[in-house]
Symmetry: C2
Subunit: 346 residues, 2 copies
């Protein structure tokens, strides 16, 4: 714990290096490297001396230096919309587990649904030389990533496809799930069904709208323009969209909510409404079965999305030279009550 003859120290803010360990143990640098990395070819006696020096100095290998020399950083980046959103927590954790099983760390960042911030984050991660990227894109033009991908940064998009480049993508079956949800409402007798979704520039919103329209068309039902409302999922916007559909001369008798945030607000609006209205929401959430009526949802498996994307990423890093793929994860309709309410004509 004291200074060595060669000036090595535990001074605050200064860390011992392999050189310091070598000097203290009276061996060469390479021998220290061998011990630290568990390489063979060191006599037990030498090894002991090196270990003692390591312990005495509190040495810990500087992985930044190692990374610079080796080329691989053993870290991957995950860019998503918002770490605080309950949909992305399980997705993140799943990516982390896969990374961990490959000995890699995870650097996480939120784009806040801002394309400029997404790009800034992604390029910062590339500058750190992450081995790969899992991206839930906010923007719709990812040509800025082309040089990085060409330089070897494995990249997989999740939840939404990449824009204007050819890259791996793992999606939920947004179209099929939405179609099933709306078909379910139709099967329960509804003819006037409203859809409140996220901003139309978001891929999932577009796909879910397409599912809605397809189900309506398949049943031979017309879609009144006032039944569809895409935009921000902020409570105020959703609230007024729902209020409008419910107050029309011929009001909707059922609502299809385009994601979990919309569903939560829709539940609050319907609770205050004078007449029962059916509801199916895209995305499951905790306690959906305890609300009254329990909420029928189209569940997507966020952890499955994350696991699949990370798996694809590491397959690339392990050298599989496969062309970009598009994988789709199925969704599941879970009837719980709110989606089975019969239409009540106003």
């Amino acid at each position: 714990m004291t200074e060595t003859a060669r000036g090595t120290s535990l001074r605050y803010g200064t860390r011992p290096t392999m050189k310091d360990v070598a000097a203290r143990a009276g061996v060469g640098l390479k021998t220290v490297s061998r011990v630290v990395n568990g390489e063979p070819g060191v006599t037990p006696d030498t090894e002991r001396r090196v270990q003692e020096a390591i312990a005495a100095l509190g040495f810990r290998r500087n992985d930044s230096a190692r990374i610079l020399r080796k080329g691989r950083t053993a870290s991957i980046g995950l860019v998503l919309e918002d770490l605080a959103d309950p949909f992305y927590g399980p997705l993140s954790r799943a990516v982390e587990e896969v990374a961990r099983s490959h000995g890699a760390l995870l650097i996480n960042g939120s784009s806040a649904e801002d394309p400029a911030r997404e790009q800034e984050l992604v390029l910062a991660l590339c500058a750190r030389r992450v081995d790969g990227l899992v991206v839930i894109p906010a923007g719709d033009d990812h040509r800025y990533l082309e040089p990085e991908i060409a330089a070897g940064v494995a990249t997989v998009f999740v939840d939404r496809p990449a824009g204007r480049i050819d890259a791996d993508v793992v999606l939920s079956d947004n179209f099929g799930g939405a179609r099933d949800a709306v078909a379910h409402l139709i099967a329960h007798g509804h003819r006037r069904i409203g859809f409140i979704g996220d901003q139309p520039r978001i891929h999932t919103a577009k796909e879910r709208l397409r599912g809605y329209r397809t189900a309506m068309a398949a049943a031979g039902l017309p879609v009144d323009g006032s039944w569809v409302s895409l935009g921000s999922t902020a409570p105020d916007r959703v609230r007024s969209a729902a209020a409008e559909m419910l107050a029309a001369r011929e009001p909707v008798t059922a609502l299809f909510a385009g994601n979990n945030r919309v569903t939560v607000t829709a539940v609050r609006v319907l609770r205050a409404h004078h007449r029962p209205v059916a509801l199916v929401g895209f995305d499951d959430f905790e306690l959906a079965d305890l609300v009254h009526p329990a909420i029928t949802v189209v569940a997507q498996d966020a952890a499955h999305l994350g696991r699949t994307a990370a798996g694809l990423l590491f397959r690339h890093l392990d050298g599989a030279g496969e062309p970009p793929r598009r994988l789709e994860i199925p969704t599941r309709l879970i009837p719980r009550g709110s989606g089975e309410i019969a239409p009540t004509d106003g």
Copy 2:
């Protein structure tokens, strides 16, 4: 896009360096460094030539090399229990925002409540030379961190204190919140109140138990041993603990649930129970107001915890040589219905 005379290339997996840019632009290395870092002292013409070379080669500065030379990595580590837990999402996001405002990236890891995994993660982050650490500890002995802290890794513990070392910590007022919750139930007429909490080695569980006991004692109420059950928060364990308390000869008339996972299971158990039982839960959650009866909770502000911890961390990194502090974030009782149910004697 073609090879230069000096062999620089866009070959897959190989990235151009400043040296390549310098060669192509016909300038020295230091000039490229100046342009890349926006340093003054470069003529417009030279700058243009360098920029052209950068664009042509698709150069992006390697921050690993930069970090090695500069000493600071501009990244901090966050070790928590489980990224998928809704309590940690907002906390993470808050830490990320503070890091971002200081130009730092966030490396995230889940300990899965395993002390060995916590240590492994923390030391891996130290080896990467993160500038600082925000730790939600799983273990209760953090002496392994002493050399790292001495070497200058700023460290702040959140949600639970560090074990056997003196370090900054930001906590919720677990004791006060629990005491308020139980006092609330007592004020509504309850005398036999059960407490189901997390494993007793976890600091928050101990503190909340202390709050429970203090409130009971303050009201002059005895606590029967069978009314307190600490352990895993897995649904099965919680379910049987609750069932036992409700089936006793003199059953509890109210439950205090020690965290959000316990609360969720308690709600399910009570829903199936033949007689109304009051419930207050520690931790708020989405839709708590939509369940019937709406759930009375003691809310803690996870984002506030994260923001405070990260703020403290960067104050240290910015050179404030303050001694370790212990900050406490207040909790808030939110009455919604389940906590105001009167006792019904069996």
